[in-house]
Structures are given as structure tokens and as C-alpha cells.
């Protein structure tokens, strides 16, 4: 799979990269409209969850959308599936899949897209499963909804897939409540890929599983990607963890993509102060409260609906200057693939974590 991304790097700029991109989100803005009772003080009837965000997933690539609670990462992913909350509205921008706009799709076309083109593995795997259907029946149902298969055929395909994701023989008759969290996650992945989509979106695939199983689930995702010729979009709040599998990373903060680039670029030279802080403030074995304390980011994420005239991260930023408060920073190109939305950003080599 890796060669695909490498070919992309050496493509001269200006060449039609869109021809190779599977999912292409361009300048997307999404707002949630709430009823006046929901807005606490009535001053913020609209909450802009995604602001002018662009994201591109190339064929065969593993991309990761990283951000904290409320940064808009799930909203962005759901918009590509047509699964947005009814209160959410796409204000501007475009979503292209295989070069075609998704704007005017009807319900039938959305259904087709969701199964045969884009698969989704949901965050809370157990509650995404039907408690009164056995694992086997989940797969049979999902397969037969989208493909003209006999029950027996669907069952065979389903069982093979379950073996592939590591559910041992005999466990297909079990119900979701009889399985561990990790096993439910595996079933969720099997369901997402059973109709052979081209893109698999996994929302927080490992945040609900134990540390000892996280790398196994990530490893499974990578194997499935290779075997089924998939592209992956992983949504996560855990930058260090997701960097283990992602080719390309998009960092989101309060609805904006603040930095994007190849995993290597982001880790060897994180340019946005927020990305840098995310990497450096994770407690790891290098840190100790006495010998090597972590310099925490002060303050908290802006609350949903909060609007600032300038950079959203400026109030918490150690490097902020007065200009940061006055205008939204535009995207700057640090390399052909590495982009950052920060006026103070400079490419400081070796500033990452070695």
C-alpha cells in the first residue's frame, strides 16, 4: 500500500491529484442549529462544528483525523456518510467521493454509498450492534440487505470474515453482550467491510478497549486494509497512538484543521503550537513530576458556539502575539504535503519527539 502515497509525493504540483483521491472534502463548514431552549443563554443559537475544513484521502491511504472532544471530527466524518443530525446543516463546501459530488444524492444513492463505497465502524461497538441478533445474523442481515445473496451464501461469507477478524469458531452464535469490548470492536469492523467498501471510517476504534488490545485492533485494521484493498479514515483523540498506523494526519481544533501532513512530518517537526502541545503533554515514560514535569497547556477548549475573531487556540497559546487575536490565520504550506494554520509557525527541524 505504501507505494501509492510515495507516488503522490513525487507528483509535480499542479498535476491533477483529484484523479487519485477517494474522498475529497473541500472547504466544508457545518453548523448545528439548536432550538432557543437548548442554547443556554440564548446568545448562541448556532454552533459551528466544522469551519472551512478540507481533507483528502488518497486511494490506499490511511488518514487520521485527530482532535479533542467537540473539535468536529465526528461531524466531519458523518457528513461524508450523509448521517448528520437533522439539526446540522452543511453551510458551504463540497464533499467529493471518487470525484463525484455527494450533494445531490437521494436516499437510495446514499444507502448504496454507505454500504458498497464507505463502511463505518462506530465508536461504541457494543451499542452499535443489535442486542437481540447473534453475531452471525448481524453479518447475514448486513450482507443480504445490500447484495442479492442466499442466506447460506451470506452465512459462508460472514463466517469467513469473522475468522479473519479473529473471532474464533463457535463464537458466531453468541450475542453482543456475551462478547468482550475488543471482540465487539472486531465484529464492528467485520460488518463495516462485509460489503467490500473502498473506504473504511473507524470512529475512535481503540478508545474503548484496553491498552493491551489497542495495538491488536490497530493491527487488525491494517491487515483488513491490505487484504480488502481499502483506504482508511481513523478518527481519534490519541495522537501518539494513531500515529502508529496513519500515513497522513489532520489535526483539528474547534472545527478547524490546524495542521496536516504525513505522520513523519507532523512528528518530526510539528508546526502548530497545539499539535506540539498535544505531543509533548502526553504523560509518557520520559516524564516525571519531579525530574521532568510536563508543561501543561493552560485553559480549556472553547465551548461549543464560542466564536473568536482570530485563532481559536490563541488564548491558550504560549507563542501567541497580538495579531493572533485579530484575524483567522490562513493555511501556510511548509512542504508540498505539510500545511499549518498559524502565523507564528516555523519549520523547526528536530522539534518533534525522537
Amino acid at each position: 500500500m505504501a507505494p501509492v502515497t510515495e507516488i503522490q509525493i513525487i507528483l509535480p504540483r499542479g498535476m491533477n491529484l483529484a484523479a487519485h483521491s477517494l474522498l475529497d472534502v473541500q472547504n466544508l463548514s457545518i453548523a448545528y442549529y439548536s432550538s432557543p431552549q437548548v442554547g443556554r443563554d440564548g446568545r448562541h443559537p448556532v454552533h459551528r462544528a466544522v469551519r472551512n475544513a478540507s481533507l483528502k484521502i488518497l486511494d490506499g491511504e490511511t488518514a487520521a483525523l485527530v482532535g479533542e472532544t467537540g473539535s468536529g471530527k465526528s461531524t466531519m466524518a458523518l457528513s461524508a456518510l450523509g448521517l448528520l443530525d437533522p439539526r446540522a446543516k452543511i453551510e458551504s463546501g463540497e464533499i467529493l467521493f471518487e470525484g463525484r459530488s455527494l450533494e445531490s444524492l437521494n436516499e437510495q444513492a446514499w444507502k448504496e454509498l454507505r454500504s458498497r463505497k464507505i463502511g463505518m465502524a462506530f465508536q461504541d461497538a457494543r451499542s452499535a450492534l443489535n442486542p437481540i441478533l447473534s453475531i452471525e445474523n448481524h453479518l447475514i442481515e448486513t450482507l443480504r440487505t445490500h447484495q442479492p445473496l442466499k442466506k447460506k451464501e451470506a452465512s459462508e461469507i460472514g463466517l469467513e470474515l469473522l475468522r479473519e477478524v479473529g473471532i474464533p469458531k463457535g463464537q458466531e452464535k453468541l450475542y453482543p453482550f456475551e462478547l468482550s469490548g475488543g471482540a465487539c470492536q472486531r465484529v464492528g469492523i467485520a460488518l463495516a467491510v462485509c460489503n467490500s467498501p473502498r473506504l473504511l471510517i473507524a470512529d475512535e476504534p481503540v478508545s474503548a478497549v484496553d491498552v493491551t488490545l489497542q495495538s491488536q485492533i490497530l493491527d487488525l485494521l491494517r491487515r483488513m486494509k491490505q487484504r480488502h484493498n481499502l483506504s482508511l479514515l481513523l478518527i481519534s483523540h490519541d495522537l501518539p497512538l494513531i500515529s502508529q498506523v496513519a500515513d497522513r494526519i489532520y489535526v483539528m481544533y474547534h472545527g478547524r484543521i490546524v495542521e496536516s501532513g504525513f505522520s513523519r512530518e507532523i512528528f518530526d517537526s510539528p508546526a502548530h503550537p497545539y499539535t506540539r502541545a498535544l505531543i509533548k503533554t502526553q504523560p509518557s515514560l520520559r516524564h516525571h513530576h519531579l525530574s521532568n514535569p510536563i508543561t501543561a497547556i493552560p485553559g480549556t477548549m472553547p465551548v461549543p458556539g464560542e466564536e473568536l475573531p482570530g485563532c481559536m487556540f490563541a488564548p491558550r497559546c504560549h507563542d501567541a502575539v497580538p495579531e493572533c487575536q485579530s484575524a483567522v490565520p490562513g493555511e501556510r504550506e511548509l512542504s508540498k504535503t505539510h500545511r499549518v494554520a498559524c502565523i507564528r509557525a516555523s519549520r523547526t527541524e528536530g522539534d518533534g519527539i525522537k
Partner: protein, 321 residues
Amino acid sequence: MAERVVPILRTEELCKEFIPGGFYQKPVRVVDRVNVEVDPGEIRGIVGESGSGKTTLARCSLRLLEPSSGSVYFDGKDLAAFSPAALRTKRQEFQMVFQDPYGSLNPSMTVEEIILEPLKIHRIGSRDSQKQYLQELLDAVSLSEHFLERRIAELSGGQQQRIGIARGLALKPRLLVADEPVSSLDASVQAQILNLLAELQQKYALTLMLISHSLGVVHYLCNKISVMYRGRIVEEAAADSFFRKPKHPYSLLLLHSMPTMNTILKNDAAPVGSSITAPADSASSCSFHPRCVHAFELCRKQTPPLIEVEDGETVACFLYS
């Protein structure tokens, strides 16, 4: 031999069983014959995966849950021997900060009421002195005064956790148990809370018991580590020797599972042990053996006892006996 300090908290063969409802009536032993000793001033980390019994151990140790068997000694005194009234007074000395700050704080109370409630329950101080003390507590957890009139739902996760900590500190406890204090918080505020706990521990000379599934968190704060697996303590050691040389295969697995920045997963990098295994019967075998690459005949037949292998380091594994 130097005289041993009296541990602030000691459990002896502590067990807790729950009887699940429904069709399964067989009790499940969540904490299984646990002996821990926490010395004054120590920062003890308890690590393990979900369901390993960390929280139940903490709750039993503070008698928020009645243990099924075994005893808990606070300052060398058996907590079971206290009358309910005496236990309530004793509670001032050990407090807990709960895992989910939003779920553990009363949504209909203001922040001021929440923090002052322990003082009211224990009838400490006059109204005026309470107000003054409130200010001190807010300063200690770095919250400004204008939060006092708000309710929990209006605050961010980090602020809620600060209030949980302020409430835990209100009675000036000697032992503070923090159950996953940062796991529900966003990455960018986790470090704030960890630094706050470190600062408070020094300022108030607290004994801290920190429950976490994250070795990074435990490494950052703790000076002694207990590793739990399926209700039992499988390894216990001083933090520096634990992180230098973990002994139990499960501890190794935990350490190997830590995400590190520059390890891009290789195809062959699958960690030791498999995931989907039925729990082994801990009464007659090592509960980790189905996942252990070193498991041999004895591991399937007997439960390994917790034995001292080096000075102050104990491991429950037949590889070391």
C-alpha cells in the same frame, strides 16, 4: 532492623464478590485475596485493565463497599471494628476523587454547595470560616471565584475534575484515593490535572493512591506501583525498579502496549499473548496463563503466590520461584 512505619492503609486477604443477577447466580470474585500496604507519604499507583478490580479494591479499602472477607486497617486499626458513627468521623481522614466527575457531583447543587457539603456534614467551622476556607480550596485547585454560583453542567471536564478534587481535599484528608482522575479528560487538560495532583500531594503531605490504566500517568506521579490482573495483585515494586525491569509477563505486556511516538507498527510487532480468551479459573491456576507466552504445566494447575523476588519487589509468577 529499623522500626517499620505503621502503614496508613493495609488490607489483609481482602476479597470482594458480586452476585450477578439474571441466570448466572455464581458469585464473581472481583477482588481476590489482596494484601496491600500503603505507607504515609507514598504515591501508590494501581494499574490494570478494565475489570481487573482496581476500583473495587479502592472502594473496599475505604469501606465504601463492604468486603466479602478480609480486613482493612487504617493506621493499624481495623476499620470493621469502628461503629458507623466512628467510621463517619474517621472518614475525614480518607477521601476519594471519583472517576467520572460529572456523574459523581450533584447536578442540582452549586459549586459552592458541593465543595462545602463535606464540611457541613462533619460540622466543621462556622459559616464565616467556611467561606474563607472555600477561597483557600479554590486557590489550591486554581479555580476562580466566579465558578462558585455555577452548576456542574456548565463547566468543562477539567473544571469538574478540579471541583471533585477540591471536595476531596475539603476535610484535609491524609489519604486521597483518585480513581482514574484524568481518563475522561481531553489530552490537553490531562497534564494540568496531573500537575495539580503532584502539587497538592506535596503541599498537604498527602498519601495518594492513584488508580489508572495508563502506565504513562502512573509513571509520572507514583513512587510505588501495584499491578492488578483479574482481581489479584500480580506485581508490586518501587516505581523506578518497576519501569526499569518489570517482572511479571503481564507487566511486560502492559509496557509493550504503550504507544510511543516513533514506533510505526510492524507486521510482526504483535505483542505477546492473545486477546480473546476465556478467563481462567483463578482458584486453581494462574489467571494470566491463557495469554502468557511463558505458561507451562504448573501455571495451569496452581495459583502462583505473591513472593518477594528482590528487596521490596513482589511478583506472583512461577517464573520467579
